[in-house]
Protein backbone atom coordinates (compact mmCIF):
# COMPACT_ATOMS: atom_id res chain seq x y z
CA UNK A 1 0.00 0.00 0.00
CA UNK A 2 1.25 3.46 -0.81
CA UNK A 3 1.30 5.77 2.15
CA UNK A 4 -0.51 9.15 1.81
CA UNK A 5 2.87 10.90 1.81
CA UNK A 6 3.70 9.30 -1.53
CA UNK A 7 1.58 11.86 -3.36
CA UNK A 8 3.47 14.70 -1.75
CA UNK A 9 6.86 13.64 -3.08
CA UNK A 10 7.70 13.76 -6.74
CA UNK A 11 8.48 10.07 -7.02
CA UNK A 12 5.76 7.66 -5.85
CA UNK A 13 6.80 4.31 -4.41
CA UNK A 14 7.11 1.62 -7.11
CA UNK A 15 4.04 -0.22 -5.84
CA UNK A 16 1.83 2.89 -6.07
CA UNK A 17 -1.41 2.28 -7.93
CA UNK A 18 -1.68 3.80 -11.45
CA UNK A 19 -4.10 6.51 -10.33
CA UNK A 20 -1.59 7.89 -7.83
CA UNK A 21 1.20 7.70 -10.34
CA UNK A 22 -0.86 9.68 -12.84
CA UNK A 23 -1.58 12.29 -10.18
CA UNK A 24 2.11 12.59 -9.42
CA UNK A 25 2.88 13.01 -13.09
CA UNK A 26 0.25 15.71 -13.41
CA UNK A 27 1.73 17.47 -10.41
CA UNK A 28 5.13 17.41 -12.07
CA UNK A 29 3.67 19.26 -15.05
CA UNK A 30 2.20 22.08 -12.95
CA UNK A 31 5.24 24.41 -13.11
CA UNK A 32 5.41 24.03 -16.87
CA UNK A 33 1.75 25.03 -17.26
CA UNK A 34 2.35 28.01 -14.99
CA UNK A 35 5.36 29.10 -17.01
CA UNK A 36 3.95 28.44 -20.45
CA UNK A 37 1.92 31.59 -21.27
CA UNK A 38 4.37 34.13 -19.86
CA UNK A 39 7.48 32.48 -21.21
CA UNK A 40 5.83 32.05 -24.59
CA UNK A 41 5.04 35.78 -24.56
CA UNK A 42 8.68 36.61 -23.87
CA UNK A 43 9.95 34.14 -26.47
CA UNK A 44 7.66 35.50 -29.19
CA UNK A 45 7.82 39.22 -28.38
CA UNK A 46 11.27 39.56 -26.84
CA UNK A 47 13.61 36.74 -27.97
CA UNK A 48 12.28 36.19 -31.50
CA UNK A 49 12.47 39.93 -32.32
CA UNK A 50 16.16 39.88 -31.39
CA UNK A 51 16.69 37.06 -33.90
CA UNK A 52 14.75 39.02 -36.50
CA UNK A 53 16.85 42.03 -35.70
CA UNK A 54 20.02 39.98 -36.19
CA UNK A 55 18.84 38.84 -39.61
CA UNK A 56 17.77 42.37 -40.56
CA UNK A 57 21.23 43.68 -39.75
CA UNK A 58 22.77 41.55 -42.51
CA UNK A 59 20.12 42.35 -45.11
CA UNK A 60 20.41 44.74 -48.01
CA UNK A 61 17.75 46.32 -50.16
CA UNK A 62 15.37 49.22 -50.05
CA UNK A 63 11.89 49.90 -48.82
CA UNK A 64 10.46 49.74 -52.35
CA UNK A 65 12.16 46.53 -53.50
CA UNK A 66 12.12 44.81 -50.14
CA UNK A 67 15.02 43.62 -48.02
CA UNK A 68 16.92 40.36 -48.48
CA UNK A 69 19.45 38.52 -46.36
CA UNK A 70 22.77 38.91 -48.18
CA UNK A 71 25.11 38.42 -45.19
CA UNK A 72 26.22 41.96 -45.73
CA UNK A 73 28.36 42.31 -42.60
CA UNK A 74 29.82 45.53 -43.93
CA UNK A 75 26.74 47.30 -42.50
CA UNK A 76 28.28 46.81 -39.06
CA UNK A 77 31.58 48.29 -40.15
CA UNK A 78 29.91 51.22 -41.91
CA UNK A 79 27.60 51.91 -38.97
CA UNK A 80 30.45 51.72 -36.46
CA UNK A 81 32.76 54.01 -38.42
CA UNK A 82 30.07 56.51 -39.24
CA UNK A 83 28.50 56.74 -35.80
CA UNK A 84 31.39 56.10 -33.42
CA UNK A 85 31.27 59.71 -32.14
CA UNK A 86 27.68 59.15 -31.00
CA UNK A 87 28.70 55.86 -29.38
CA UNK A 88 31.54 57.47 -27.47
CA UNK A 89 29.32 60.39 -26.52
CA UNK A 90 26.60 58.06 -25.21
CA UNK A 91 29.05 56.15 -23.04
CA UNK A 92 30.65 59.39 -21.83
CA UNK A 93 27.34 61.08 -20.98
CA UNK A 94 25.95 57.95 -19.35
CA UNK A 95 29.10 57.42 -17.27
CA UNK A 96 29.11 61.06 -16.15
CA UNK A 97 25.41 60.91 -15.31
CA UNK A 98 25.95 57.66 -13.37
CA UNK A 99 28.76 59.26 -11.37
CA UNK A 100 26.52 62.28 -10.76
CA UNK A 101 23.66 60.03 -9.61
CA UNK A 102 26.01 58.25 -7.20
CA UNK A 103 27.37 61.52 -5.81
CA UNK A 104 23.89 63.02 -5.40
CA UNK A 105 22.02 59.86 -4.50
CA UNK A 106 24.34 58.44 -1.86
CA UNK A 107 23.88 61.22 0.73
CA UNK A 108 20.11 61.12 0.32
CA UNK A 109 19.94 57.32 0.56
CA UNK A 110 22.24 57.48 3.61
CA UNK A 111 20.09 60.17 5.19
CA UNK A 112 16.87 58.21 4.68
CA UNK A 113 18.29 54.84 5.73
CA UNK A 114 20.39 55.79 8.74
CA UNK A 115 19.51 59.26 9.98
CA UNK A 116 15.88 60.03 9.16
CA UNK A 117 14.21 58.20 12.04
CA UNK A 118 10.49 58.95 11.98
CA UNK A 119 10.86 61.10 8.84
CA UNK A 120 11.89 58.04 6.85
CA UNK A 121 8.49 57.27 5.30
CA UNK A 122 7.85 60.88 4.36
CA UNK A 123 11.27 61.24 2.69
CA UNK A 124 10.73 57.97 0.84
CA UNK A 125 7.39 59.22 -0.50
CA UNK A 126 9.08 62.46 -1.58
CA UNK A 127 11.69 60.46 -3.53
CA UNK A 128 9.07 58.36 -5.33
CA UNK A 129 6.42 61.06 -5.76
CA UNK A 130 8.02 62.88 -8.75
CA UNK A 131 7.63 59.61 -10.67
CA UNK A 132 3.90 60.18 -10.82
CA UNK A 133 4.22 63.11 -13.19
CA UNK A 134 5.07 61.85 -16.66
CA UNK A 135 8.87 62.01 -17.05
CA UNK A 136 8.59 63.80 -20.40
CA UNK A 137 6.75 66.68 -18.76
CA UNK A 138 9.39 66.84 -16.02
CA UNK A 139 12.18 66.79 -18.58
CA UNK A 140 10.52 69.68 -20.39
CA UNK A 141 10.50 71.57 -17.08
CA UNK A 142 14.31 71.55 -17.25
CA UNK A 143 13.99 73.75 -20.32
CA UNK A 144 12.43 76.38 -18.08
CA UNK A 145 14.92 75.87 -15.25
CA UNK A 146 17.97 76.11 -17.50
CA UNK A 147 16.57 78.73 -19.89
CA UNK A 148 18.97 81.43 -21.07
CA UNK A 149 17.51 84.33 -19.09
CA UNK A 150 16.55 82.18 -16.10
CA UNK A 151 17.87 82.50 -12.55
CA UNK A 152 20.15 79.45 -12.80
CA UNK A 153 22.01 80.70 -15.85
CA UNK A 154 22.19 84.27 -14.50
CA UNK A 155 23.59 83.03 -11.19
CA UNK A 156 26.15 80.82 -12.89
CA UNK A 157 27.11 83.73 -15.16
CA UNK A 158 27.56 86.20 -12.35
CA UNK A 159 29.76 83.67 -10.56
CA UNK A 160 31.73 83.27 -13.83
CA UNK A 161 31.11 79.54 -13.73
CA UNK A 162 29.83 79.42 -17.29
CA UNK A 163 32.98 81.11 -18.56
CA UNK A 164 34.99 78.29 -17.02
CA UNK A 165 32.68 75.55 -18.31
CA UNK A 166 32.66 77.20 -21.75
CA UNK A 167 36.44 76.95 -21.77
CA UNK A 168 36.19 73.27 -20.79
CA UNK A 169 33.72 72.61 -23.60
CA UNK A 170 30.92 71.52 -21.24
CA UNK A 171 28.78 74.53 -22.11
CA UNK A 172 28.77 77.00 -24.98
CA UNK A 173 28.19 80.72 -25.43
CA UNK A 174 27.37 81.35 -21.75
CA UNK A 175 24.25 79.24 -21.88
CA UNK A 176 23.35 75.82 -20.54
CA UNK A 177 20.51 74.63 -22.78
CA UNK A 178 21.61 72.80 -25.92
CA UNK A 179 24.97 71.92 -24.39
CA UNK A 180 26.42 68.66 -22.98
CA UNK A 181 25.84 69.99 -19.46
CA UNK A 182 22.08 70.20 -20.03
CA UNK A 183 21.89 66.65 -21.41
CA UNK A 184 23.97 65.18 -18.55
CA UNK A 185 21.90 67.19 -16.07
CA UNK A 186 18.69 65.75 -17.55
CA UNK A 187 20.06 62.19 -17.58
CA UNK A 188 21.21 62.51 -13.97
CA UNK A 189 17.82 63.82 -12.95
CA UNK A 190 15.83 61.17 -14.80
CA UNK A 191 17.74 58.16 -13.49
CA UNK A 192 18.47 59.39 -9.95
CA UNK A 193 15.65 57.38 -8.31
CA UNK A 194 17.05 54.20 -9.88
CA UNK A 195 20.25 54.89 -7.97
CA UNK A 196 18.66 55.94 -4.69
CA UNK A 197 16.33 52.96 -4.26
CA UNK A 198 18.95 50.15 -4.40
CA UNK A 199 21.37 52.25 -2.33
CA UNK A 200 18.68 52.74 0.27
CA UNK A 201 17.87 49.03 0.35
CA UNK A 202 21.47 48.01 1.03
CA UNK A 203 22.18 50.84 3.50
CA UNK A 204 19.02 50.06 5.44
CA UNK A 205 20.19 46.46 5.95
CA UNK A 206 23.38 47.54 7.71
CA UNK A 207 23.35 46.67 11.41
CA UNK A 208 23.80 50.01 13.23
CA UNK A 209 25.81 48.18 15.92
CA UNK A 210 28.59 47.69 13.36
CA UNK A 211 28.87 51.45 12.97
CA UNK A 212 28.82 51.92 16.76
CA UNK A 213 31.51 49.27 17.09
CA UNK A 214 33.71 51.13 14.62
CA UNK A 215 33.23 54.30 16.66
CA UNK A 216 34.03 52.45 19.89
CA UNK A 217 37.26 51.29 18.30
CA UNK A 218 38.25 54.95 17.79
CA UNK A 219 37.50 55.11 14.06
CA UNK A 220 36.81 58.66 12.93
CA UNK A 221 33.44 59.09 11.18
CA UNK A 222 35.20 59.27 7.81
CA UNK A 223 37.13 56.07 8.55
CA UNK A 224 33.93 54.31 9.65
CA UNK A 225 32.36 55.33 6.36
CA UNK A 226 35.34 54.22 4.28
CA UNK A 227 35.97 50.91 6.05
CA UNK A 228 32.48 49.83 7.16
CA UNK A 229 29.52 51.66 5.65
CA UNK A 230 30.66 51.98 2.06
CA UNK A 231 31.92 48.37 1.64
CA UNK A 232 28.66 47.07 3.12
CA UNK A 233 26.64 49.17 0.69
CA UNK A 234 28.53 47.82 -2.35
CA UNK A 235 25.63 45.64 -3.59
CA UNK A 236 23.47 48.76 -3.76
CA UNK A 237 26.23 50.74 -5.49
CA UNK A 238 26.66 48.02 -8.13
CA UNK A 239 22.92 47.58 -8.70
CA UNK A 240 22.34 51.34 -8.77
CA UNK A 241 25.12 52.09 -11.22
CA UNK A 242 23.88 49.35 -13.56
CA UNK A 243 20.26 50.50 -13.33
CA UNK A 244 21.43 54.02 -14.19
CA UNK A 245 24.13 53.37 -16.75
CA UNK A 246 22.30 50.87 -18.98
CA UNK A 247 19.16 52.91 -19.67
CA UNK A 248 21.13 56.17 -19.80
CA UNK A 249 23.36 54.82 -22.60
CA UNK A 250 20.38 53.99 -24.80
CA UNK A 251 18.40 57.12 -23.95
CA UNK A 252 17.50 59.63 -26.64
CA UNK A 253 14.90 61.74 -24.87
CA UNK A 254 17.23 64.02 -22.91
CA UNK A 255 19.53 64.59 -25.89
CA UNK A 256 16.52 65.42 -28.06
CA UNK A 257 14.71 67.72 -25.64
CA UNK A 258 17.64 69.42 -23.89
CA UNK A 259 20.48 69.11 -26.39
CA UNK A 260 21.24 70.31 -29.90
CA UNK A 261 22.41 68.33 -32.93
CA UNK A 262 25.92 68.28 -31.42
CA UNK A 263 24.71 66.25 -28.44
CA UNK A 264 22.99 63.43 -30.36
CA UNK A 265 23.47 60.09 -28.66
CA UNK A 266 23.36 56.63 -30.21
CA UNK A 267 19.69 56.26 -29.26
CA UNK A 268 18.87 59.30 -31.39
CA UNK A 269 20.65 57.72 -34.35
CA UNK A 270 18.84 54.39 -33.98
CA UNK A 271 15.50 56.17 -33.61
CA UNK A 272 15.95 58.35 -36.67
CA UNK A 273 17.39 55.52 -38.79
CA UNK A 274 14.41 53.35 -37.90
CA UNK A 275 11.52 55.81 -37.81
CA UNK A 276 12.61 58.55 -40.24
CA UNK A 277 15.30 57.30 -42.64
CA UNK A 278 13.73 53.80 -42.66
CA UNK A 279 17.19 52.25 -43.03
CA UNK A 280 16.35 49.13 -41.02
CA UNK A 281 19.65 47.25 -41.52
CA UNK A 282 21.69 50.17 -40.13
CA UNK A 283 19.31 50.61 -37.20
CA UNK A 284 19.54 46.88 -36.47
CA UNK A 285 23.34 46.83 -36.69
CA UNK A 286 23.59 49.85 -34.39
CA UNK A 287 21.26 48.21 -31.84
CA UNK A 288 23.41 45.09 -31.85
CA UNK A 289 26.63 47.03 -31.42
CA UNK A 290 25.03 48.95 -28.55
CA UNK A 291 23.78 45.74 -26.94
CA UNK A 292 27.16 44.03 -27.29
CA UNK A 293 29.04 47.04 -25.96
CA UNK A 294 26.77 47.31 -22.93
CA UNK A 295 26.94 43.57 -22.21
CA UNK A 296 30.75 43.67 -22.42
CA UNK A 297 31.04 46.71 -20.15
CA UNK A 298 28.55 45.34 -17.63
CA UNK A 299 30.25 41.92 -17.48
CA UNK A 300 33.63 43.54 -16.96
CA UNK A 301 32.21 45.82 -14.30
CA UNK A 302 30.53 43.00 -12.39
CA UNK A 303 33.76 40.96 -12.50
CA UNK A 304 35.77 43.89 -11.23
CA UNK A 305 33.43 44.78 -8.42
CA UNK A 306 33.41 41.12 -7.40
CA UNK A 307 29.71 40.78 -6.73
CA UNK A 308 28.77 38.25 -9.38
CA UNK A 309 26.39 36.39 -7.09
CA UNK A 310 24.48 39.53 -6.20
CA UNK A 311 23.27 40.63 -9.59
Amino acid sequence: MASPQATATDRPAPEAPPALRAAARRKKLVPYWLLLPGILWLLVFFAAPLVYQASTSVQTGSLEEGFEVTWHFATYWDAATEYYPQFLRSVGYAATATAGCLALGYPLAYLIALKAGRWRNLLMILVIAPFFTSFLIRTLAWKTILSDGGPVVSALNSLHVLGLTDALGITEGHRVLATPLAVVCGLTYNFLPFMILPLYTSLERIDPRLLEAAGDLYAKPITTFRKVTFPLSMPGVVAGTLLTFIPATGDYINAELLGSTDQKMIGNVIQSQFLRVLDYPTAAALSFILMAAILAMVTLYIRKSGTEDLV
Binding site: F46, F132, S134, P193, I253, L275
Partner: protein
Protein backbone atom coordinates in the same frame (compact mmCIF):
# COMPACT_ATOMS: atom_id res chain seq x y z
CA UNK B 1 39.94 77.07 26.75
CA UNK B 2 38.72 79.98 24.65
CA UNK B 3 35.23 80.10 23.27
CA UNK B 4 35.15 78.96 19.64
CA UNK B 5 34.84 81.85 17.21
CA UNK B 6 31.65 82.31 15.19
CA UNK B 7 33.24 81.10 11.98
CA UNK B 8 34.55 77.87 13.45
CA UNK B 9 31.18 77.24 15.06
CA UNK B 10 29.54 77.57 11.64
CA UNK B 11 32.01 75.21 10.01
CA UNK B 12 31.53 72.73 12.83
CA UNK B 13 27.77 72.86 12.42
CA UNK B 14 28.18 72.44 8.65
CA UNK B 15 30.48 69.47 9.10
CA UNK B 16 28.15 67.80 11.55
CA UNK B 17 25.12 68.23 9.30
CA UNK B 18 26.88 67.63 6.00
CA UNK B 19 24.88 64.50 5.18
CA UNK B 20 21.56 66.18 5.96
CA UNK B 21 22.42 69.21 3.83
CA UNK B 22 23.65 67.10 0.90
CA UNK B 23 20.66 64.77 1.13
CA UNK B 24 18.13 67.57 1.22
CA UNK B 25 19.89 69.28 -1.70
CA UNK B 26 19.42 66.11 -3.74
CA UNK B 27 15.79 65.98 -2.69
CA UNK B 28 15.43 69.56 -3.90
CA UNK B 29 16.98 68.59 -7.23
CA UNK B 30 14.43 65.77 -7.50
CA UNK B 31 11.46 67.94 -6.58
CA UNK B 32 12.36 71.11 -8.51
CA UNK B 33 10.89 70.07 -11.90
CA UNK B 34 7.62 69.10 -10.20
CA UNK B 35 7.44 72.54 -8.61
CA UNK B 36 8.05 74.14 -12.01
CA UNK B 37 5.42 71.94 -13.66
CA UNK B 38 2.88 72.93 -11.01
CA UNK B 39 3.70 76.65 -11.10
CA UNK B 40 3.59 76.75 -14.89
CA UNK B 41 0.17 75.08 -14.94
CA UNK B 42 -1.07 78.53 -13.84
CA UNK B 43 0.83 80.37 -16.55
CA UNK B 44 -0.64 82.19 -19.52
CA UNK B 45 2.11 81.99 -22.13
CA UNK B 46 2.34 84.45 -25.00
CA UNK B 47 3.47 82.07 -27.72
CA UNK B 48 2.95 78.38 -28.34
CA UNK B 49 5.55 77.30 -25.80
CA UNK B 50 5.04 77.31 -22.05
CA UNK B 51 8.66 77.77 -20.98
CA UNK B 52 8.63 81.38 -19.75
CA UNK B 53 6.49 82.87 -17.02
CA UNK B 54 4.07 85.53 -18.26
CA UNK B 55 1.09 85.99 -15.94
CA UNK B 56 -1.14 84.08 -13.58
CA UNK B 57 -4.20 82.39 -15.01
CA UNK B 58 -6.43 79.42 -14.18
CA UNK B 59 -7.60 79.03 -17.79
CA UNK B 60 -5.94 75.66 -18.27
CA UNK B 61 -7.33 74.28 -15.02
CA UNK B 62 -10.90 75.20 -15.95
CA UNK B 63 -10.52 73.68 -19.41
CA UNK B 64 -8.10 70.73 -19.14
CA UNK B 65 -9.34 69.07 -22.34
CA UNK B 66 -9.26 72.30 -24.35
CA UNK B 67 -6.44 71.08 -26.57
CA UNK B 68 -7.29 68.78 -29.45
CA UNK B 69 -6.37 65.11 -28.92
CA UNK B 70 -4.93 65.67 -25.44
CA UNK B 71 -7.63 63.95 -23.41
CA UNK B 72 -8.07 61.30 -26.09
CA UNK B 73 -4.41 60.37 -25.75
CA UNK B 74 -4.73 60.39 -21.97
CA UNK B 75 -7.68 58.00 -22.02
CA UNK B 76 -5.85 55.74 -24.51
CA UNK B 77 -2.83 55.64 -22.22
CA UNK B 78 -5.02 54.76 -19.25
CA UNK B 79 -6.74 51.97 -21.16
CA UNK B 80 -3.44 50.51 -22.33
CA UNK B 81 -2.01 50.76 -18.82
CA UNK B 82 -5.01 48.94 -17.31
CA UNK B 83 -4.89 46.08 -19.82
CA UNK B 84 -1.10 45.84 -19.71
CA UNK B 85 -1.23 45.71 -15.91
CA UNK B 86 -3.85 42.99 -15.98
CA UNK B 87 -1.99 40.90 -18.56
CA UNK B 88 1.47 41.22 -17.09
CA UNK B 89 0.26 40.69 -13.51
CA UNK B 90 -1.54 37.45 -14.36
CA UNK B 91 1.28 36.05 -16.50
CA UNK B 92 4.00 37.31 -14.15
CA UNK B 93 2.35 35.95 -11.00
CA UNK B 94 2.07 32.50 -12.62
CA UNK B 95 5.77 32.54 -13.49
CA UNK B 96 6.69 33.80 -10.02
CA UNK B 97 4.81 30.91 -8.38
CA UNK B 98 6.47 28.38 -10.69
CA UNK B 99 9.91 29.78 -9.84
CA UNK B 100 9.32 30.09 -6.11
CA UNK B 101 7.51 26.81 -5.53
CA UNK B 102 8.64 24.19 -8.00
CA UNK B 103 11.80 22.56 -9.19
CA UNK B 104 11.93 22.06 -12.91
CA UNK B 105 14.34 21.77 -15.76
CA UNK B 106 15.48 24.87 -17.70
CA UNK B 107 15.20 26.93 -14.53
CA UNK B 108 18.32 28.97 -15.23
CA UNK B 109 17.32 29.65 -18.85
CA UNK B 110 13.95 30.91 -17.63
CA UNK B 111 15.67 33.22 -15.14
CA UNK B 112 17.97 34.56 -17.85
CA UNK B 113 15.04 35.15 -20.19
CA UNK B 114 13.31 37.11 -17.42
CA UNK B 115 16.41 39.11 -16.51
CA UNK B 116 17.36 40.20 -20.03
CA UNK B 117 14.44 42.56 -20.72
CA UNK B 118 15.32 44.48 -17.55
CA UNK B 119 19.02 44.69 -18.45
CA UNK B 120 18.63 45.75 -22.07
CA UNK B 121 18.45 49.34 -23.30
CA UNK B 122 14.84 50.06 -24.20
CA UNK B 123 15.72 51.31 -27.66
CA UNK B 124 17.14 47.87 -28.60
CA UNK B 125 13.99 46.04 -27.51
CA UNK B 126 11.82 48.66 -29.16
CA UNK B 127 13.58 48.44 -32.54
CA UNK B 128 13.64 44.62 -32.50
CA UNK B 129 9.95 44.25 -31.70
CA UNK B 130 9.03 46.81 -34.36
CA UNK B 131 11.16 44.83 -36.84
CA UNK B 132 9.18 41.69 -36.02
CA UNK B 133 5.85 43.48 -36.48
CA UNK B 134 7.05 45.01 -39.75
CA UNK B 135 8.15 41.63 -41.08
CA UNK B 136 4.86 40.03 -40.05
CA UNK B 137 2.91 42.81 -41.73
CA UNK B 138 1.09 43.64 -38.49
CA UNK B 139 -0.67 47.03 -38.42
CA UNK B 140 0.76 49.22 -35.67
CA UNK B 141 -1.69 50.56 -33.13
CA UNK B 142 -3.42 49.71 -29.86
CA UNK B 143 -2.60 45.99 -30.00
CA UNK B 144 1.07 46.34 -30.83
CA UNK B 145 1.49 48.83 -27.98
CA UNK B 146 -0.34 46.52 -25.57
CA UNK B 147 1.77 43.50 -26.59
CA UNK B 148 4.96 45.49 -26.12
CA UNK B 149 3.91 46.84 -22.72
CA UNK B 150 2.97 43.41 -21.36
CA UNK B 151 6.36 42.15 -22.61
CA UNK B 152 8.47 44.66 -20.70
CA UNK B 153 6.28 44.79 -17.55
CA UNK B 154 6.31 41.01 -17.12
CA UNK B 155 9.80 40.71 -15.62
CA UNK B 156 9.15 43.42 -13.06
CA UNK B 157 5.98 41.67 -11.86
CA UNK B 158 7.86 38.36 -11.55
CA UNK B 159 10.58 40.03 -9.46
CA UNK B 160 8.08 41.68 -7.11
CA UNK B 161 5.84 38.63 -6.63
CA UNK B 162 8.67 36.09 -6.39
CA UNK B 163 10.33 37.98 -3.53
CA UNK B 164 7.07 37.88 -1.57
CA UNK B 165 6.27 34.21 -2.25
CA UNK B 166 9.83 33.14 -1.38
CA UNK B 167 9.63 34.81 2.03
CA UNK B 168 6.31 33.09 2.79
CA UNK B 169 6.32 30.43 5.51
CA UNK B 170 5.44 27.12 3.74
CA UNK B 171 4.12 25.71 7.03
CA UNK B 172 1.06 27.98 6.77
CA UNK B 173 -0.10 26.12 3.69
CA UNK B 174 0.72 22.77 5.27
CA UNK B 175 -1.36 23.78 8.28
CA UNK B 176 -4.29 24.62 6.00
CA UNK B 177 -4.05 21.23 4.36
CA UNK B 178 -3.79 19.51 7.71
CA UNK B 179 -7.08 21.20 8.55
CA UNK B 180 -8.63 19.49 5.49
CA UNK B 181 -8.60 22.48 3.15
CA UNK B 182 -8.65 21.43 -0.50
CA UNK B 183 -5.73 22.69 -2.63
CA UNK B 184 -8.03 25.31 -4.16
CA UNK B 185 -9.22 26.53 -0.75
CA UNK B 186 -5.63 26.63 0.50
CA UNK B 187 -4.63 28.73 -2.49
CA UNK B 188 -7.55 31.17 -2.26
CA UNK B 189 -7.68 31.53 1.52
CA UNK B 190 -4.00 31.28 2.49
CA UNK B 191 -1.54 31.59 -0.37
CA UNK B 192 -3.18 34.39 -2.33
CA UNK B 193 -3.81 36.74 0.63
CA UNK B 194 -0.20 36.38 1.76
CA UNK B 195 1.14 36.96 -1.75
CA UNK B 196 -1.25 39.90 -2.32
CA UNK B 197 1.13 42.73 -1.32
CA UNK B 198 3.74 41.42 -3.78
CA UNK B 199 1.14 41.11 -6.53
CA UNK B 200 -0.16 44.61 -5.77
CA UNK B 201 3.37 46.03 -5.89
CA UNK B 202 3.98 44.31 -9.24
CA UNK B 203 0.68 45.59 -10.61
CA UNK B 204 1.34 49.17 -9.48
CA UNK B 205 4.80 49.08 -11.00
CA UNK B 206 3.38 47.76 -14.30
CA UNK B 207 0.76 50.46 -14.37
CA UNK B 208 3.34 53.18 -13.81
CA UNK B 209 5.79 51.70 -16.33
CA UNK B 210 3.13 51.26 -19.00
CA UNK B 211 1.47 54.63 -18.49
CA UNK B 212 4.77 56.51 -18.64
CA UNK B 213 6.51 54.49 -21.33
CA UNK B 214 7.78 56.43 -24.27
CA UNK B 215 10.66 54.72 -26.10
CA UNK B 216 9.02 51.33 -26.78
CA UNK B 217 5.71 53.01 -27.61
CA UNK B 218 7.45 55.44 -29.95
CA UNK B 219 8.65 52.52 -32.09
CA UNK B 220 5.52 50.37 -31.91
CA UNK B 221 2.61 52.81 -32.01
CA UNK B 222 2.43 53.70 -35.69
CA UNK B 223 0.21 56.78 -35.86
CA UNK B 224 -1.56 56.03 -32.56
CA UNK B 225 -0.86 58.73 -29.97
CA UNK B 226 -0.54 57.88 -26.28
CA UNK B 227 -0.15 60.58 -23.65
CA UNK B 228 3.70 60.46 -23.55
CA UNK B 229 3.69 60.55 -27.37
CA UNK B 230 1.44 63.60 -27.23
CA UNK B 231 3.86 65.37 -24.89
CA UNK B 232 6.79 64.41 -27.12
CA UNK B 233 5.02 65.78 -30.16
CA UNK B 234 4.09 68.97 -28.33
CA UNK B 235 7.76 69.63 -27.58
CA UNK B 236 8.08 70.24 -31.32
CA UNK B 237 4.72 71.86 -32.07
CA UNK B 238 4.16 73.91 -28.93
CA UNK B 239 3.47 72.90 -25.37
CA UNK B 240 -0.07 73.62 -24.16
CA UNK B 241 -0.46 74.57 -20.49
CA UNK B 242 -2.93 71.69 -20.16
CA UNK B 243 0.01 69.26 -20.18
CA UNK B 244 1.18 70.81 -16.91
CA UNK B 245 -2.34 70.63 -15.51
CA UNK B 246 -2.49 66.89 -16.17
CA UNK B 247 1.05 66.36 -14.84
CA UNK B 248 0.18 68.22 -11.64
CA UNK B 249 -3.15 66.45 -11.24
CA UNK B 250 -1.54 63.00 -11.62
CA UNK B 251 1.06 63.94 -9.02
CA UNK B 252 -1.53 65.21 -6.53
CA UNK B 253 -3.84 62.20 -7.00
CA UNK B 254 -0.98 59.72 -6.58
CA UNK B 255 0.40 61.44 -3.47
CA UNK B 256 -3.09 61.52 -1.93
CA UNK B 257 -3.51 57.80 -2.63
CA UNK B 258 -0.16 57.06 -1.00
CA UNK B 259 -0.97 59.18 2.05
CA UNK B 260 -4.40 57.59 2.48
CA UNK B 261 -2.79 54.16 2.15
CA UNK B 262 -0.18 55.07 4.76
CA UNK B 263 -2.80 56.36 7.20
CA UNK B 264 -5.00 53.29 6.70
CA UNK B 265 -1.98 51.02 7.15
CA UNK B 266 -0.95 52.84 10.32
CA UNK B 267 -4.44 52.59 11.78
CA UNK B 268 -4.65 48.87 11.01
CA UNK B 269 -1.33 48.30 12.74
CA UNK B 270 -2.50 50.16 15.84
CA UNK B 271 -5.86 48.41 16.19
Amino acid sequence: MTAPSGLSRVTRWLRRNLVVIAGLTTLGYLMLPNVIVTVFSFNKPNGRFNYEWQRFSTDAWTDPCGVADLCGSLSLSLQIAVWATLGSTVLGTMIAFALARYRFRARSSVSTLLFLPMAMPEVVMAASLATLFLNMGVTFGFWTILIAHIMFCLSFVVTAVKARVMSMDPRLEQAAQDLYATPLQTFLRVTLPIAAPGIAAGALLSFALSFDDFIITNFNAGSTVTFPMFVWGSAQRGTPVQINVIGTAMFVIAVLCVLVGQLAGGRRKRS
